[in-house]
């Protein structure tokens, strides 16, 4: 159906190198590769978002060279991008139909729009949301679903999904897979990108692997084992142990308390949450999209003003929740936020400047002190090596990095700043399998060094593999706690739904 012929894209370096591929209707074609391998760049070329430097494409027998997304859409190619493009001042319905607002003579048909929006939202498991609500009220997971819905409600021939599940938890992913099956049966050619190998294995009919912009080959389902895939992705070939096997060395023995949260409230999404975190402990937080995990972290960090409760950091006396992140950072907290584009990075600034950012307000550093950019550059270089950030130089602006590499910059920034308690919201979002191991290693080392670590992740497998204990948030409440290393996934899943099935009855501990 869609044929790529030696497609090439040059930026400062070559991002995609002579890739020739063919996509067949009714098939899910997975595209794998390490961070910065060129997957998103390839997709953007197909979707008309950027122009290839060389090469050509043929769609359904006709030459296809879109120079805008609009043309690509007309030709029947749709893309759900890795980075979110939700417009937060518009309503959900308007976001859904943005490129094609239902209208008569330019006047909106609000009723039609509302009706169809309701149908689509229900279809994507967002049925409990009001189509008139502004998109700013959504969390990242919900925004991701909305973005998928907005780009797929129209019939298409080719559908590109660039890491659609990175911010989704099990329930939502499952629903997405159902939709994918449905589209498949309609004869849509689906190009699917993910770093979650398990889901690729079950979903994909064919698998292509990119490394450093070059195509390594295409295989059918079942031809490759997970370890083969990883070996083909990385250079030099690495073998990767499955997450489940990299268990925590031992539950931290320290009884020193790193963080204690009492009855924390952030209406309406966090209700009387209490827990404590020991130094050297990795505490995971599981939950469904919209369960309030992000809000919990933001309330602890002072990014949103909590409406009640108290915090205790280390052995200092309990205090009111922080009023702003500055107080939190001074008290020794750091937070890796979920939405790197909105509040994690300075996209137009260099890697070095981003890593240096939290260091600009250290106590004792005067306002007119020298910024020591040279030193910042050296530090950045170290992190680029340690975390395998793929870049041309540390002066490259972060916005031009691949998604996974951007996430690594966020990590590097906080590792450099350091603190006693790490709050991590989806720390591995978009990071490839190999680098993920490195990130786990880093987290584990932090724990060894006596930091308290709170990890929110939608990937249950990741939490089970990584954490000393796991708490579950459901509908804004802390519904259960489990301690490792032997978890019962079923019990955790049940706890994740608990808050919804029995509303207003289960009072928090």
């Amino acid at each position: 159906m869609l044929k790529l012929d030696s497609l090439t894209k040059d930026f400062a370096t070559r991002a995609v190198d002579q890739v020739s591929l063919e996509f067949a209707p009714g098939q899910v074609h997975a595209l794998l590769g390490a961070n910065g391998a060129g997957k998103s760049t390839l997709c953007k070329m197909i979707a008309g978002l950027i122009l290839p430097t060389q090469g050509s494409m043929v769609l359904a027998g006709k030459k296809y060279s879109p120079d805008s997304k609009r043309q690509a859409q007309r030709a029947g190619v749709q893309i759900v991008q890795q980075e979110l493009n939700v417009l937060e001042t518009l309503t959900l319905a308007e976001n859904l139909f943005l490129s094609n607002l239902p209208n008569r003579w330019g006047i909106l048909s609000r009723r039609t729009m509302h009706r169809r929006a309701c149908e689509i939202l229900v279809d994507f498991g967002l049925g409990d949301l009001d189509p008139h609500a502004p998109a700013s009220s959504l969390g990242v997971g919900q925004q991701q679903l909305l973005e998928i819905a907005a780009n797929t409600w129209q019939p298409t021939q080719v559908l590109i999904l660039d890491e659609p599940t990175a911010a989704l938890s099990t329930r939502e992913s499952q629903r997405l897979f159902e939709k994918i099956h449905f589209w498949k049966h309609q004869g849509v050619a689906i190009l699917y990108i993910s770093h979650r190998l398990a889901e690729v294995q079950t979903l994909a009919d064919r698998i292509s692997i990119l490394r450093d912009g070059r195509l390594q080959g295409t295989w059918s389902r079942g031809e490759l084992q997970e370890c083969d895939i990883v070996a083909k992705m990385t250079n030099p070939a690495k073998s990767i142990a499955p997450i489940s096997s990299i268990l925590p060395a031992s539950p931290a023995e320290s009884s020193r308390q790193a963080l204690r949260v009492e009855q924390l409230r952030l209406s309406p999404k966090v209700q009387n949450v209490s827990f404590s975190l020991r130094a050297g402990e990795i505490l995971g937080v599981a939950g469904l999209v919209g369960s309030g995990r992000t809000e919990l972290l933001r309330a602890i960090f002072g990014a949103d003003r909590a409406s009640g409760g108290s915090l205790q950091v280390g052995d200092k006396p309990a205090c009111k929740p922080f009023r702003n992140p500055n107080e939190a950072v001074r008290a020794g907290l750091v937070m890796i936020s979920e939405d790197r584009k909105a509040d994690g990075l300075l996209l137009t600034e260099s890697i070095a400047a981003n890593i240096q950012l939290p260091m600009l307000d250290r106590p004792g550093l005067g306002r007119f002190a020298l910024a020591r950019t040279g030193q910042a550059r050296r530090i950045a270089e170290t992190y680029c090596q340690n975390l395998a950030i793929r870049c041309d130089s540390t002066d490259q602006s972060v916005g031009t990095l691949s998604g996974g590499n951007q996430q690594k910059v966020v990590l590097a920034k906080w590792l450099e700043r350091d603190g006693t308690v790490f709050l991590m919201d989806e720390p591995t979002r978009g990071i490839d399998v190999a680098a993920r191991q490195q990130v786990y290693e880093v987290i584990r080392n932090l724990a060894k060094a006596g930091k308290g670590i709170l990890v929110v992740s939608s990937d249950l497998e990741e939490l089970i593999g990584l954490c000393d204990s796991i708490g579950v948030m459901s509908n804004g409440r802390w519904t259960a706690s489990f301690s490792g290393p032997n978890y019962e996934p079923q019990a955790i899943l049940e706890a994740m739904f608990a808050g919804y099935s029995a509303p207003e009855t289960s009072t928090p501990p």
């Binding site: 690509a72 417009l87 937060e88 943005l98 330019g106 909106l108």
Partner: protein, 323 residues
């Protein structure tokens, strides 16, 4: 039944939340001047005020649309003057009939606006600088076609701004009100309006969604320019003169009205009706201070203070509402 009452109650609450801060500011100003300025709270004064705001209202509506789409138009005052001068030229020198001349003036304004929009959108140049250039160009052209003279156009335009007998308000005022309502409608109920909000929120995302941004921007700027032309007509009819110097500094008053009304200069947020309230705040303040006979230094200090305060109060109110 009960449901209905609840929902209407909620509607009232929502209206209060949206317009409350501004209404309080307006009432406070009216009350203050009512107490301290003789003859302020009289029908005559209020009608005089109503008949003197149509031009700035209409311009501010255009400005709101442009600001919401993430642009800015500094050339409004100059384009107003240029359209007015063109009107005078068409009417007096070419002796065209009124309707044709008016159409010409409004079209000229729309062209200037459209040009602003086209240059800034198609070449991705900050609107600030493009419209700053247009400010100079349009003003220069206005001097040029009038030879730097004000021109008397007589009373042929008078009906436009004379009070209508039983109502006391002028045709201009009615038109301005209609423009406000149309602007609000355009913003909320049309594809163009929603696209404007989207572009103002994040132009890059909109482009990523496969939507062309140039055409809507050109249209919005053209509307703004056309409204400046209309405002030029209103002003000329009120003064029976066309004046190449009219509208100097109007861009700042118009933007101030928008921002007092809560329109964000970063785009994506704003309301035409609230802009109208912003215009009211400014003009009540001006009229009140004039009736008090305040000295110029005091007028300016008070105006500045009230502008800051009104926005400050609104922001404090919103912050306390969030908590």
């Amino acid at each position: 039944m009960k449901d209905h009452a609840v929902s209407s109650n909620r509607a009232i609450q929502q209206t209060l939340a949206t317009y409350g801060g501004l209404l309080v500011a307006i009432l406070a100003l009216l009350g203050f001047f009512g107490v301290f300025a003789k003859n302020f709270l009289t029908a005559t004064t209020l009608l005089t005020m109503a008949n003197s705001i149509p031009d700035i209202t209409v311009v501010a509506v255009g400005m709101t649309l442009v600001l919401i789409a993430g642009g800015i138009d500094l050339s409004v005052g100059s384009v107003l003057a240029l359209s007015a001068c063109c009107l005078g030229w068409l009417m007096v020198d070419l002796k065209l009939p009124l309707w044709l001349a008016s159409l010409g003036a409004i079209a000229l304004g729309a062209c200037c606006g459209g040009l602003n929009g086209w240059i800034s959108a198609a070449f991705r140049i900050p609107a600030f600088i493009v419209t700053l250039g247009m400010l100079e160009i349009a003003r220069g052209s206005a001097y040029w076609i009038t030879d730097s003279n004000t021109k008397y156009v007589g009373s042929s335009l008078g009906w436009f701004s004379d009070p209508i007998a039983p109502l006391g308000v002028s045709v201009s005022f009615l038109i301005a009100t209609a423009v406000v309502l149309a602007g609000q409608w355009l913003l909320h109920q049309t594809v163009l309006g929603r696209t404007a909000v989207a572009i103002g929120t994040n132009a890059e995302s909109v482009r990523m969604a496969g939507i062309r941004t140039t055409a809507p921007m050109v249209t919005l700027y053209a509307i703004c320019g056309g409204l400046c032309g209309l405002a030029g007509m209103m002003q000329s009819s009120r003064l029976s003169t066309v004046d190449p110097n009219s509208g100097v500094g109007m861009e700042l008053s118009a933007i101030a009205a928008c921002v007092i009304g809560g329109t964000s200069l970063r785009g994506g947020q704003g309301s035409v009706v609230r802009t109208f309230f912003g215009v009211l705040v400014i003009s009540i303040l001006q009229t009140g201070l004039a009736q008090l006979g305040a000295t110029d230094p005091i007028k300016r200090i008070v105006t500045g203070g009230v502008i800051i305060l009104s926005v400050l109060l609104d922001s404090l109110r919103k912050q306390s509402a969030i908590r």
